[in-house]
Symmetry: C2
Amino acid sequence: MAETNRQWLLKKRPHGMVTKDNFERREVAVSEPKDGEILVRNRYLSFDPTQRGWMEDRPSYVPPVAIGEVMRAGSVGEVVRSKHGDFNQGDLVQCTGGWQDYTTIAPGQGIFGASKLPPGTDPVLALSVLGVTGLTAYWGLLDLGQPKRGETVLVSGAAGATGSVAGQIARIKGCRVVGIAGGTDKCRWLKEEARFDDVIDYKSENVNARIGETCPKRVDVFFDNVGGDILEAALNHINMRARVVLCGGISAYNATKPVPGPTNLLNLIIMRARMEGFIVIDYMDRSHVAVPELMKWVQSGEIVNQVDVQEGFDNIPDTLNRLFTGKNLGKQLLKL
Amino acid sequence: MAETNRQWLLKKRPHGMVTKDNFERREVAVSEPKDGEILVRNRYLSFDPTQRGWMEDRPSYVPPVAIGEVMRAGSVGEVVRSKHGDFNQGDLVQCTGGWQDYTTIAPGQGIFGASKLPPGTDPVLALSVLGVTGLTAYWGLLDLGQPKRGETVLVSGAAGATGSVAGQIARIKGCRVVGIAGGTDKCRWLKEEARFDDVIDYKSENVNARIGETCPKRVDVFFDNVGGDILEAALNHINMRARVVLCGGISAYNATKPVPGPTNLLNLIIMRARMEGFIVIDYMDRSHVAVPELMKWVQSGEIVNQVDVQEGFDNIPDTLNRLFTGKNLGKQLLKL
């Protein structure tokens, strides 16, 4: 009883890159669960580029994190005390626990709710390839991208949590897969471990020229996590009836003024191509289709699941920035 | 025999707006038809924004007009002499006759070929609402836009040949239709004649604010002929699962350097929306579906067909520019 709950609250909205000044660290007593609620001790926190957007005070697909509110983040933890009939002490749950040790939550309520994980579930898998990240790759690539055997799939942010899974699914589907990532380590991992057909290092290569070289039959599906110049370069090489899957635009997430879009949008006309955005939460009721298939691919080794696990409560704010400085390879997590 | 054929040849590629210096006027003897060819006397020329793109030396959906070639343009004319079994003297034909009095052409060959029009066809209708312009509106709106009764359809370039028809089809389909056009005359015509529900005058009004006012349920389909700032403003107001139909981007056709795209493309993600380009030539084999329906709507008065008919061979180059200076209301034609 009377456990201490460490929390990082959003203190002021960031302008550009996030710093520790944007948050306030405090320690409070845990909030005891009321009827219908559970108390969860968070074990792993998930870090996703979209969380940067949640810190902005503007309309989006979820309300912004309020000033003074615990910073929002996905998590896996275990039930410490339950006043909800479906949950027992020790149950493993996935929820939006936020940047704190303990979360008091009513399953089925809130933005994302809380769901029980099967006993023995690996929290790391649950927060990466079998979680929001893997589902984003799965549905974005398959539902919007509609890759066909023999087509060319280009992925930006390819060494990230979503991009790396999207590319591997495209490889499983019989496509030529080319990834764009930053740095030799990521590019080597993409070719050797994730078995992309080719890679482009945007930090040292001319992306536009290299897309032309690595995609000689042009690009049928562009799975974009980056936007900006990378999107413009990709649009120069789209094939007839190409599908551009807008998953994210990390290049602009820390921008302090509006970032112009690509100058060549009209290539969508010339190539009769489509650009489409999506949010994975719309697909959550179909997770029973995606999760077993992703699990099968992980178990068979067709998908390698790469995670970067930081540790320590005080490192939480800096860990978010790893996504934007390109330090993470694969899914960014933090173990509490 | 030995008729004189006046021609406007492309002399040098334009940089910015087209001027008479881009063309060379010459007079030559008509080219007599060989076996399988017909000689057509052009009666009406069609002017379309896409023709500006044909003058650029870059890959597109059709090859560029070559230097020294007759400037390419759609036309309706009558057969003067035929060496093709399916065509007789006096037949009315639609072809890409170009900027000249006479065209020698092999039907079924070339970029767009030549097709016979039923006797009594009104050439003006054939080159406007029943021609490429109307078909562009029909397929772009219905196939890509997929408007549903009660939805809001926003059209840019709304007083132009394609926009005016797209908006009227949307009205026929039971949508709320808002048009964006330049100037009080065009806006009045859109409301009073074409019966748009509301109009926005981009020359005198704040387009972004006015879209918000005129589309209180947001924009389900944006039929865009303009691009640039207008596209950016529209993207601020798209509804969930909106369809952005990229028909054209006239705002950039005369640009002398690359024009940045919208800063808010990521709204496509937040709203799970789609932006898609198309070229009407892909739909030409389905004209037998579209033309009778368009004809029915014209005859019943549900679609008003507005044309701007200039006259005189020497006015051809200036007539093209009417599209870019906004002088035309509806379809721009020239009678030879």
